[in-house]
Subunit: 317 residues, 2 copies
């Protein structure tokens, strides 16, 4: 990898124009990273909206049309559908082009997309660790990737210059870039992203099912902590269904560990083990500080929900 790699591509194809595809369009505009951005979305309304917002230069009703002549092709559809898309674009992928994706799982991407990559096309799967709970073409914005990590998982034999160019591209989109084995990526994301989403979906479901506490009470008193979980549980259902189906083994492993730990915590409560509870509640506190120090979290208390707090603090001191 060389520092001199060019982050600019003549023609980029965005396959999928939702939160991530849209944010990539905005980030490419901001960094002047593409001569032409061709977009594909399944729905006519999404294509129309993407043109109105202006993060693409052209839209196409078939993925193959969008991919024609592209130097960089980025698959931004849910991971359950990338195999089908790959089969469709296989005949038109240009020799020398880079093919990448943004999916939350990587082993399944090699399995589903790999067989459709023609000789001479550089296949370098990727995953930006960034997002919000919103989806659709209006959800994207240029700063989404700023200071967030993007993990690339190239196989050992892949062209070094192509990897350097894709790295330079993500860095120009604001990201920091890391490299990982696909299998290790899936394990890391299972604990840092997939398990948190599943736990959030689960607790919101549990609260919604209560018969002794009404939904209106859950909503009114959600500031006691519950509301934090509703953000992840408002994420795109299709995306998360596909993640669960395509990273099954790692997710089941993490769910197993979580449940074991929860059973142990339940036992501490049942037996009134105050020291054991205090020990657990103390050691988890340090981790948030590390995440803030690593620049991966807003340092303001309560996620900055109390905007007047900072000003108030200053006045007091």
């Amino acid at each position: 990898m060389t520092d001199a790699a060019d982050p600019h591509f003549k023609r980029v194809a965005l396959i999928g124009l939702g939160l991530i595809g849209g944010s990539l369009g905005h980030a490419m505009r901001r960094g002047k990273l593409a001569g032409h951005i061709a977009g594909y979305a399944r729905s006519d309304a999404t294509r129309k909206r993407a043109m109105e917002i202006g993060f693409v230069d052209s839209v196409h009703s078939s993925a193959a049309d969008a991919v024609k002549d592209a130097d960089l092709v980025i698959l931004c559809t849910p991971v359950g559908s990338v195999g089908e898309v790959a089969a469709e674009i296989e005949p038109v992928l240009k020799k020398g082009a880079i093919l990448t994706d943004v999916g939350s799982v990587k082993v399944a991407i090699f399995r589903d997309v790999g067989p459709h990559v023609p000789d001479g096309v550089h296949f370098i799967p990727g995953h930006p660790i960034a997002g919000t709970e919103e989806s659709g073409p209006d959800a994207g914005f240029a700063e989404l990737f700023d200071d967030r990590w993007c993990i690339l998982t190239p196989l050992p034999g892949v062209d070094r210059d192509a990897v350097a160019r894709l790295t330079a591209f993500w860095e120009a989109c604001g990201s920091r870039v890391d490299f990982m084995e696909p299998k290790h990526h899936d394990l890391v994301l299972a604990i840092t992203s997939h398990l948190p989403h599943l736990i959030a979906y689960n607790i919101v479901g549990t609260a919604d099912d209560m018969e002794t506490v009404t939904r209106s009470e859950v909503i009114k008193y959600s500031a006691g902590g519950f509301r934090d979980f509703t953000r992840l549980a408002a994420s795109d259902p299709t995306m998360w269904r596909d993640v669960c189906l395509s990273n099954k083994d790692a997710i089941l492993e993490m769910l197993g560990r979580f449940s074991e730990d929860l059973a142990a915590l339940q036992r501490l409560i049942r037996w009134g083990d105050g020291d054991g509870l205090f020990e657990l509640f103390t050691r988890t506190r340090a981790i948030r500080r590390s995440i803030i120090d690593a620049g991966q979290e807003n340092p303001a208390p309560n996620f900055g929900r109390n905007p007047t707090h900072a000003a108030d603090d200053k006045k007091d001191q």
Copy 2:
């Protein structure tokens, strides 16, 4: 309850000068709700700091000294210690004074404080549903209770005028006030606050224990969802130990339900039931919208972590 109830008290005693005690001090200053605010904290450093910040008018090294002559006494120490404090202040509580608290459990408060309430003192336990993950005298701010609910749990026989005055006081602190049976309060809070905190502590503990994924990886890639949980898991360990020990039955009931639901979710994943997953992930989405509509959550995507987003949106449209 009458609209004319006076929210102002001549002398208020704040027993405990941390996040909630401090915020009450600031809120009383803002609303000019107290002639004199007397503060008690166990540690000398906390008392000194509270005077420096200025949210109390006097500090005292014994709770009894702070409570002397007070018309309103607010217990703001962790729920495990309020019984002891109540025993100490029992001899000096003034006839006609209102005694309240801010604890996250209410049945245990009646059990521990109730026996120490002298005749002629109006005992009206309360619980403001507001907080941040910070603690200590520097963590408080005047706006903490604005638009948040405060639940009062007076027993049926208690003086109506006293309840009206305490209601007016909390409203003047910015809160909306609700009334509940103590037992029902503990059940509602078990699902809206206690379970979420325990789940957050548990998942952060699970991630911290991984041997195949390093702590540094967990921190770097936490923006995938994990970081959301670290906020609740950074809350005060003493407070949460006490909550677990004093609301055991309701918490164990909620943990049991959550675990059952998690087992069902695990089964959907193991058997690849995409429709079942999609159904769960869809119905949880609506709840966040309701919480935002109820004014209990920041409507900005990603908790407003991307401050430039709104500006960017406007530019695009």
